[in-house]
């Protein structure tokens, strides 16, 4: 996590404001800045995971039989 006391850059604030608005959230400016200060930490946590899965199977397991029950031919 980033230090939430670090001042976020104007670009980060703008990006966070846009992403929040896209999700239907329009918080006060002071709170956008708080989230923008924390965002680089979350972003870095997500970004660090991509190289780890590069050679892994592409998707989590999905099993329709577990959801619907096995069909009559099973």
């Amino acid at each position: 996590m980033a230090d939430v006391k670090a001042a976020p850059s104007p670009g980060t604030i703008e990006a966070v404001r846009a992403l929040l608005a896209g999700a239907g959230l329009n918080p006060p400016e002071a709170e956008i800045e708080i989230m923008a200060a924390a965002y680089p930490g979350f972003r870095a946590a997500a970004d660090r995971l991509y190289p780890l899965v590069y050679d892994d199977d592409p998707a989590p397991v999905f099993d329709p039989a577990a959801l619907f029950g096995a069909g009559p031919d099973a």
Partner: protein, 470 residues
């Protein structure tokens, strides 16, 4: 003074030196005295608890013994449903009729075992964020020093056990919310294997990371509670069906606690604390003492390093934010201001992450678990600190700094059982803690390791001064 454990109280109830009604009076007096200062309860069930205690005494006198929890006062974190009582999630947002007419299965099981539920305990709103002085809820304070925080989010349960307002209680753990307050409050807390304890009637935070666990003074007490709590319930789709989780075929958790660790191979992990901004100087010496205690109990102790620790912790953070925002988005778009500021600004981070981020975190979680499995395969358990320091001061608490000082979230990504237990004190007299991580469904082993250490130390029985002198 030493703390009264569930096991001791159970013996006293059967020996006739205690009654359930007397025990309830004792903890209720303690709550009357300390709750205004410590902020343990959101709701107290005074009449219901008195009726349950009287019933327990009547039944025990008639030879009806429901087991070691019969007549024992327990607290329940207020994100778990209790029949007839509103679950608030410490939030202005939560619907008051949610699960109002029924107990969560885990609460129902405790009641059926004769436990006396004393009330609902404080949390952070929806189990995430920080204590929020702007909202109309009590602020939980640490009995070891009320100028410090209890940790969270099972804050009230942690403080309540430590200060003697009940003998045990329920917490929930998505990134450490059982183990962190257990660590800061000097008690023992277990995050069981994912799916071992059903989560129906428990408000979700991150549904693929959420666990319900017991919190009490000792590993033995946690074992006694888990024996009642564990087992399948169809209302939780992730609840395990295996025989190792089922009553009758699962291990005897309490019976496994012999004090003898002969034949067990236990890895001591010292690298994780180096990821913190700062560690208390007493922490690594405390870990050394734990290693010596394990060896003295007969374990083969070795040094290990957990691979992919950072990835497991990162995955916990990303998945938690994504799953929490999925649950809260609809309400949050309508009622932003009704959420507490720390809760809303954390959960809204989920809006800043992409679908690919979430899927990648779930994939990375599997890859990292496989890497950890390579190391764990040669061991029975791994021991590492729970947190870098004692309880942080209330003044100046901030989420970013705090997240670097806790070592718990990685083990939510693994779903493995993890037991936090007291391991000594800082120079300022605040509790320190280690956690024992074991194989899936190896709660008996994890608890046996904790118990073996507690047979050789008294940290878990130490009481904060406020508990004895007010």
């Amino acid at each position: 003074m030493t703390a009264l454990t569930i096991a001791d109280a159970a013996r006293g109830l059967r020996a006739g030196t205690l009654t359930a009604a007397g025990l309830l009076r004792q903890v209720s007096d303690q709550a009357d005295k300390l709750d205004p200062q410590l902020g343990v309860y959101l709701t107290r069930f005074a009449d219901d608890a008195a009726a349950a205690a009287e019933r327990a005494d009547r039944e025990l006198a008639a030879g009806i013994d429901r087991g070691p929890l019969h007549g024992i006062p327990l607290g329940v974190k207020d994100i778990l449903a209790t029949r007839g009582w509103v679950t608030t999630a410490q939030s202005l947002v939560h619907r008051p009729d949610w699960w109002l007419d029924q107990d969560a299965p885990v609460v129902a099981r405790l009641r059926a075992a004769g436990a006396v539920i004393t009330g609902k305990t404080t949390t952070m709103e929806y189990a995430i964020g920080l204590p929020d002085p702007d909202k109309p809820f009590p602020l939980p304070r640490n009995p070891w020093n009320p100028a410090t925080w209890t940790g969270g989010s099972s804050s009230g349960t942690g403080a309540g056990v430590a200060a003697g307002l009940f003998l045990g209680g329920l917490g929930t753990d998505t990134g450490g919310s059982v183990r962190i307050p257990a660590a800061y409050c000097g008690i023992t807390g277990l995050k069981p294997t994912y799916g071992l304890v059903p989560r129906a009637g428990c408000l979700p935070l991150g549904f693929s990371l959420d666990h319900i666990g017991p919190m009490a003074h000792s590993a033995l007490d946690c074992a006694l509670m888990l024996s009642v709590m564990a087992g399948h319930d169809p209302r939780d789709p992730a609840a395990r069906r295996d025989p190792a989780a089922a009553p009758g075929t699962r291990p005897d958790y309490a019976g496994a606690l012999t004090g003898d660790l002969s034949g067990l191979r236990i890895g001591i992990e010292r690298a994780i604390p180096a990821t913190a901004q700062w560690c208390d100087p007493a922490l690594l010496p405390a870990l050394d003492t734990v290693a010596d205690g394990l060896a003295a109990a007969g374990a083969d102790v070795t040094e290990v390093e957990i691979p992919c620790y950072r990835a497991l912790a990162d995955a916990d953070l990303v998945i938690m934010a994504g799953e929490a925002f999925s649950f809260h988005r609809a309400a949050m778009t309508e009622r932003w201001g009704d959420y507490g500021r720390y809760t809303r600004t954390f959960i809204a981070q989920g809006a800043l992450l992409s679908a690919a981020d979430y899927v990648t975190a779930q994939r990375a979680r599997r890859v990292a678990c496989a890497a950890l499995g390579e190391v764990l395969g040669g061991l029975d358990a791994i021991v590492t600190p729970t947190c870098a320091t004692g309880a942080p001061a209330y003044e100046g608490l901030d989420m970013g700094s705090l997240m670097t000082q806790i070592f718990t979230g990685a083990f939510n990504s693994t779903g493995l059982p993890a037991l936090a237990l007291p391991a000594g004190f800082t120079a300022a007299g605040l509790p320190l803690s280690v956690q024992v991580i074991g194989h899936p469904l190896a709660e008996a082993t994890v608890l046996a390791i904790g118990d073996a250490l507690q047979r050789r130390t008294t940290h878990h029985l130490a009481e904060p001064e406020i508990a004895t002198h007010g």
